[in-house]
């Protein structure tokens, strides 16, 4: 629309192709290529093998994948429930309180994940709650990182939802609990599912807070991938990264299907 001559279009598209390849495509292709590489001394791998995937599916790496998945599912579920709860409760509060709650629930976004990890270490290495060295501190860290995003997504959906629906239900004599369960929450299901997939993706890739917090028996996959690259096992690290992406995308797609069904109702 902006350019009409064929030559100028061709030039712009060529530049675009080169830059887009460098920024978006090349990194993905490289990781996949490396995950199959048997040997890589020249420009491209000289031999290919599937053994890195066999390794990734066994032993330590697979245990880490399971840890990541459990952490992701639990942290996202709790974060969606708490975020929805907070957003609904804030909606009923006087507007000044609501604005304050809104700010407070958005604040964790502005705190770097490493700082959050440090803060949890400082706070929970001592009584009354000595959680340091347990898996709970990792789960807490992930929850605090996800919560503001869940709150924000659901709260935006509440602002868009039609308040008349709930008022109509109430005026017809439905009890507050019934209005909540039958009208207000079903309207929010698509947003809750969207925030769940976002939370899952974020939790599965989280590194900053996890590196500060993880105990030896609860090491997530990103932390294991870092340990692998640190030891020079870059091909196994690549295979594990591909595995991590595949599991994450699988989870997100699954939640998307749930969202589709919720929207149909």
């Amino acid at each position: 629309m902006l350019l009409w001559t064929r030559r100028s279009k061709a030039i712009v598209w060529t530049v675009f192709g080169v830059l887009f390849t460098a920024v978006v495509l090349a990194p993905l292709v490289m990781i996949v290529l490396a995950s199959f590489a048997g040997q890589w001394t020249g420009v491209f791998p000289s031999a290919f093998t599937g053994s890195h995937y066999a390794d990734a599916f066994s032993g330590e790496t697979f245990a880490s994948l399971s840890v990541s998945l459990q952490t992701g599912v639990i942290a996202s579920a709790v974060s969606v429930v708490l975020g929805t709860w907070a957003a609904l409760a804030a909606r009923g509060a006087p507007s000044r309180v609501r604005k304050l709650v809104d700010t407070v629930f958005h604040l964790p976004i502005a705190v770097p994940s490493v700082v959050l990890g440090l803060a949890l270490l400082v706070a929970f290495s001592r009584p009354p709650l000595a959680l340091n060295g347990t898996r709970w501190i990792v789960l807490l860290g992930h929850l605090m990182i996800l919560l503001p995003f869940s709150y924000s997504t659901v709260s935006a959906a509440i602002a868009r939802a039609d308040p008349l629906l709930a008022q109509a239900a109430a005026s017809l004599g439905a009890s507050p609990a019934r209005v909540l369960l039958k009208v207000r929450i079903p309207v929010l299901l698509p947003a809750m599912s969207a925030s769940a997939s976002l939370a899952l993706a974020m939790s599965m890739g989280e590194l900053g807070a996890t590196m500060m917090l993880y105990p030896p028996d609860w090491r997530t996959l990103p932390a294991s991938i870092f340990a692998l690259t640190d030891r020079g096992q870059v091909f196994l690290a690549s295979a594990s990264t591909v595995l991590l992406l595949a599991v994450t995308l699988g989870g997100v797609v699954l939640l998307g299907l749930v969202r589709g069904r919720a929207a149909q109702r």
Binding site: F20, W40, A89
Partner: protein
Amino acid sequence: MSGLVLEAVAPRRVRERGQVRRGWLPWLLPPLVVLLGFFGYPLVLVAAQSLESKTGEFGLSVWAEVLGSSEFLDAAWRTVALALGSTVGCVLLGTFLALVIAFVPFPGARTLSRLVDTVLAFPSFLIALAFTFLYGSAGVFGSGGFLYSPWGVLLAEITFYTPFVMRPALAGFSQVSAAQMEVAASLGAKPGRVLWRVILPEAVPALASGACLTMLLAMNEFGIVLFLGAKDVTTLPTLIYSKGIVTFDFPQACVVAMVNVALSLVLYGTYRWAIGRGERRAAVDAA
């Protein structure tokens, strides 16, 4: 982090109406207690810890020690320089890529913009790992030490965060009306002038919020720096990590953390302000 981008794109209602429900306080308390207990309380302890010297005295001695150390000053300078450099690079690159997708479209452009959405959900260390195969000693553009220098980290951050600018930029460009551009062009305006006078003014709020967000995220970036620059490049987050986990110097780590939080709060405030300005503009346009 992709949540921030999605949030920036979805226009929220400017005036929010709602009824005050009776008994709102007991309902609000449980989530608020969780947040304050596991986020507010730990941060307060970090602030307190930073004021406590190794011998247990209360005062600013650790602050003076850290703020005067060359290690901290180097890391702080490097963090800000990397964040600024990445932001400039991402805005230029992201705006160009989004412009082509939006205004010089080609078959498959929509698929590409969906691919960009997917990339947003990926962890940043993926880029760092990919870079070892792209620019490492063995690899496509084998270039030895470049990868582990600040320039390698900068290039990795630009690569990772460019989609974070593209997403809001595409949303901003979608609000430019084709008719307006065609009128300008039919009146004889060259493409450069249409771009400068018609398209960019419309997209400035979206680009500004994208830029603030990129700067916030780049400043707090941990994965890329840890994977690539652990030896020579230290930023505030990796300094906190090495002080907290490697040398167990918690008071010093807490001081660096407070500085990092202060910097990113300023940027986050700017970001919210930029979004708010964009929304007000959208509201005026709609009216």
